[in-house]
């Protein structure tokens, strides 16, 4: 199925969890924050949140800024 991550379409497995997505994208779970359909998830929710087709995911991390 297809979801939208940071405005771009990505193919993931059906019933994919947020955790699985993070792993698939090769991200460090301790350095990111995630919005799932505009709801902010706590890290504990990553395992339990199963995505559906066309879900919208925002993944952010810290960068240099003033």
């Amino acid at each position: 199925m297809q979801i939208i991550v940071n405005s771009k379409p990505i193919e993931v497995a059906v019933n994919c969890t947020i955790s699985a997505l993070v792993e698939q994208l090769n991200l460090d779970i301790k350095r990111i924050a995630i919005e799932y359909n505009r709801e902010i998830l706590s890290p504990e929710q990553f395992h339990t949140t199963i995505m559906n087709d066309n879900d919208c995911i925002e993944i952010v991390n810290f960068v240099g800024g003033g």
């Binding site: 998830l41 952010v60 003033g66």
Partner: protein, 258 residues
């Protein structure tokens, strides 16, 4: 000891440092170390999926530095609140440098939306440090809703123009019940010293360090200048005089005095 206290937390340094615009994370880390700063700002952006970079946070020792995420990029209160919440979700302490800048050219802060966002974030338990134009009445409103500092700008961000808003900042300082941090536009250590001499509690610098020929030396220079300005403020500066006042004695010359 003369410490900066924000929301009950003490800091020895009165210089906040930004982490933007450095050519590498290593350079950034060396620069903030040289500055002596203890509060470092960071921004929140979408991860670059598929382009694994060296993570900024690998270079900031969070036992030494307070990480202060900003809401840069937010164009209204709603976007700022969303960013603040994400920053907290990413594992930060609930400190937030609140920036709401709808105008893409001068990146000046929005007084209305900043106040609105501050009110929401304070209620959600955030320690809010709002970036504002140097407007004393706005500063008062923000203090009334419970912000932890006010951060008036000296000049538009990145311009290196110095304390162009000096008169308004002096009034903000005089009336403040929270620390006043002069943010943006300070392009030289003398600008930082001037802000501290005026009575600011701290200053925030990023661009002037990041664009310097030698970023570490510039950071150390800012560190010293902030200390110099603070000490001068505490030591009590003399007033401007219209007419000259001799520093050598005006008697005992080699001639008969009249």
């Amino acid at each position: 000891m003369d410490e900066l206290i924000i929301a009950g937390r003490s800091f020895r340094s009165r210089l906040m440092v930004g982490t933007g615009k450095f050519s590498s994370n290593a350079q950034m880390a060396a620069t903030i170390a040289a500055s002596g700063g203890e509060i470092v700002t960071v921004a929140l952006r979408r991860v670059n999926v598929g382009d694994q970079q060296d993570d900024l946070l690998n270079h900031i020792d969070r036992s030494k530095y307070l990480l202060l995420p900003n809401t840069s990029g937010a164009r209204d209160a709603e976007e700022a609140v969303r960013l603040a919440r994400l920053a907290r979700a990413a594992g930060c302490d609930p400190w937030i440098k609140l920036e709401v800048t709808p105008d893409p050219y001068y990146l000046l802060p929005d007084p209305i939306e900043t106040l609105k966002a501050a009110e929401i974030l304070v209620k959600e338990g955030f320690i809010v440090l709002p970036y504002i134009n140097a407007d004393p009445v706005l500063a008062k409103h923000l203090q009334e809703v419970g912000v932890a500092t006010v951060m008036p700008l000296g000049a538009p961000i990145g311009t290196n123009k110095g304390l162009r808003t000096r008169d308004n900042i002096a009034i903000i300082i005089e009336q403040a019940i929270v620390p006043v941090v002069v943010d943006a536009g300070l392009g030289a250590p003398s600008h930082a010293a001037e802000a501290m001499e005026l009575g600011a509690d701290a200053v925030m610098v990023n661009t002037a360090m990041a664009v310097a020929g030698n970023t570490e030396m510039m950071a150390a220079a800012f560190g010293k200048a902030v200390e110099a300005g603070r000490m001068a403020y505490l030591a009590g500066l003399g007033k401007e005089q219209k007419q000259a006042v001799a520093s050598s004695p005006l008697t005992g010359f080699l001639r008969d005095e009249k």
